[in-house]
Symmetry: D2
């Protein structure tokens, strides 16, 4: 952390800040600038939140973090590319581009099997289809639930395509894992932390979609929830964000 | 719905669109404009999603909905102000402004009771404090859980202030309802539909916070989830949205 | 225009609205829906602003425009692609992708000529470089002005690459047109309407950059300013917009 | 500036960075952290842009500026509140709230004089009205120009209210200053730097509106353009920004 003092910070304020840094288990390095005094706090203490909170102390202008908050999701910890095995020889994250395609919702046997065949012919490697649907309106169709999962399985049997489908609540994990090759977390659940923690305990790949309001840093922190709970098979899915522009659905 | 045709829509395309509107159970009114033909689809059918999907038909430029998608949350259904009783004589939504205040997290008995006394003296009517915390980082303090709820109860006993606390997953509903006077849904869960549906089945007031990227229409649709599941005690909480400006946390 | 009435609009309000539509030179078509009455106003009058302003009348819920506000910039007026001749055989808007490249600012003879040679070798067809620079800070380098234009001309002589450079105020038009093959309007000036009007009177291609908060509709309306003043050689330049995400400069 | 090195920066990279800092006229203070090396660059050199550009050097992760880029607009330079005298005893920026009100455009003598009387009665202290209008569409009414300024003057004579009106291009400065008590820069021109520079040379108060895409920092930098050109009478006008929300015009 770098702590920037106010222009008019007093010597006494400086001393109190230095004492507090020391108490939190960090070493303080003071740099007297021409207009400002800046303090570098060095150490690997557990007091990061408290260092950050020093922003509210008298004499402090702001506190600038130096390190990224994500660890396991960082290329510093794991510089090589992550390659996630899916089913058979198929994996995501290598040199080949893997296209997942399919309808928004599973609606009928005929619909999902015909679509599976069509997307396979068009070159897709994975079939997507929703059985549990997060809908903005409570009056919209909410998905076929387990019946939809069974139809997805039939479509996989018919085409050989692995399947990905969305999960919305922790209670559905066992059911969905019984059928899906990849479990999808939708954009609205990207910060549903209880769900992410549970998905960290399974042994299936999880595809995490970026929320419409999620910064890249928050997105990686959500991946960190899954990774730090023990599941390293996380696939990130960019899907555009919400902006002022309404001419397209996402930007 | 109003269906706007393309400038170069053919007579045959128009006829097919009219047939489809009729099949969906609506009456079609055609208006021949100087530059465009516009069709009004009148009726109360269940085919609204399908009318909207006509946007993809040849000859159609766009489909404009006339009615708002929310019903129970609309002042058309319920023109009078909603007044939600909380505890004793206290209610939210009347003429008096009700301030809810307290710490982000419950951290200790001393902290929460002192804070409760302070906010009461300052004029607040309801004590807020988190026992289950949605934190961007899995490494941050996640709340005291049930122990925090017990401390909130003690603070209510000490001051008489009703308490509000956040819920993060359906499994915690019974536990939280045992202690809380108001159940809070945080910004990140504003579109956690399984949670909202369950909260529609309880008999406690629910305070729903607007998400940082939630439109007013989506916000009302989330309220509609709770309302349409049977709980009419919904309190909406505006809390600012995320924009390009970083000088303040929310705009 | 489609005028949507409030659910509780009275018969008298409806009548007044119909009278006003007629006075503005439009024909009114009334559609009685199951929940709302909707009026289509048909005609090519000059009263569009006043129709739109009916939104404020008692009994009116909202007014929905049917036609886009841009005319000359619309593919309805000119369905074929616009191909803008630049210099010699080079044109923009055909099948070939034309890359314009070069430094932010012209800084010295050596810099601009070396860069011109490098971008030409790399496949660029047009040299870009700023002589007048819009800088957020008044203390930053503001460009070499005419001296920079002379150096751009020298770089064109040395490489054969046509040159594009930015204009910031109407007074500089003659000077810049003396040297530039394309006049660039920067993102900050996309709604500098006096400048756009003047650029509508010249016989040079104008490259209009989208502003960081410009909707596609506003962008086309800015093009309309140039087009409607008589210059049809408008090149639109998408350059990303400003969003909440700070990990990249634009989204 | 604080320069943060990459985790794997080499000793040689560090040395090159230190040499460059010294060459730019700054002193370097190295802090060896547990995970990162951080360098504080101290001094008041003119090399700030070049320090910032070190972000692209091998071994550098990012460069964090410590000081704000605005000077004259900063409360550090001028801690007391700015009170801008308008006309007679009236000033803006003191304890009294000064309301400026009036129509978007001046449309007729009757309209502007009646409006002036109405806003005066309602408590406004300054009359606003546009004679030159920045309109998104070239087909919309663009203002009465000088005739509108004359009508504003008449309204001031009739009511005693000082007047504020918008400027759109440097060529109109003399004309507008002849009539206006405050010159308004609209949101679309907040980064029209040639205009701001010219307004820095006049002796009238300038009201600068925040653009819909302007950060607070950019807004202050635009004020800095006027201030650094010699005019200290700058009034900042917040007017909301553009966001994803379309339920209100601005947020």
């Amino acid at each position: 952390m770098v702590i920037v003092l106010k222009k008019d910070a007093t010597q006494q304020q400086l001393q109190e800040i230095l004492n507090m840094i020391k108490e939190l288990g960090y070493q303080a390095h003071v740099i007297q600038g021409t207009e400002r005094t800046v303090i570098g706090a060095v150490g690997s203490g557990r007091g990061k939140d408290k260092l950050q909170a020093m922003e509210n102390l008298p004499g402090v202008e702001n506190v600038v973090p130096i390190l990224q908050p994500y660890k396991l999701a960082s290329i510093e910890i794991k510089p090589e590319k992550s390659v996630i095995p899916i089913r058979g020889a198929l994996s995501v994250g290598g040199n080949a581009i893997v296209v997942m395609a399919g309808p928004c919702s599973v609606e009928s046997r005929e619909q999902i099997i015909q679509t599976a065949q069509a997307v396979k012919e068009a070159g897709a490697c994975i079939l997507r289809g929703g059985a549990f649907k997060p809908r903005t309106s409570p009056y919209s169709f909410q998905g076929m639930e387990e019946e939809g999962l069974l139809l997805l399985r039939d479509a996989r049997d018919a085409t050989g395509l692995p399947i990905i489908t969305e999960i919305m609540k922790p209670q559905d994990i066992d059911l969905i894992c019984k059928y899906a090759d990849i479990v999808q977390v939708g954009a609205r659940n990207v910060q549903n932390f209880p769900l992410l923690k549970e998905l960290g305990k399974i042994d299936k790949p999880v595809l995490l979609k970026r929320g419409m309001m999620t910064t890249i840093e928050e997105f990686l922190m959500s991946a960190e929830y899954i990774l730090s709970s023990g599941n390293s098979k996380v696939i990130l899915c960019e899907r555009g964000i919400r902006t002022f522009e309404t001419a397209t659905r996402n930007t």
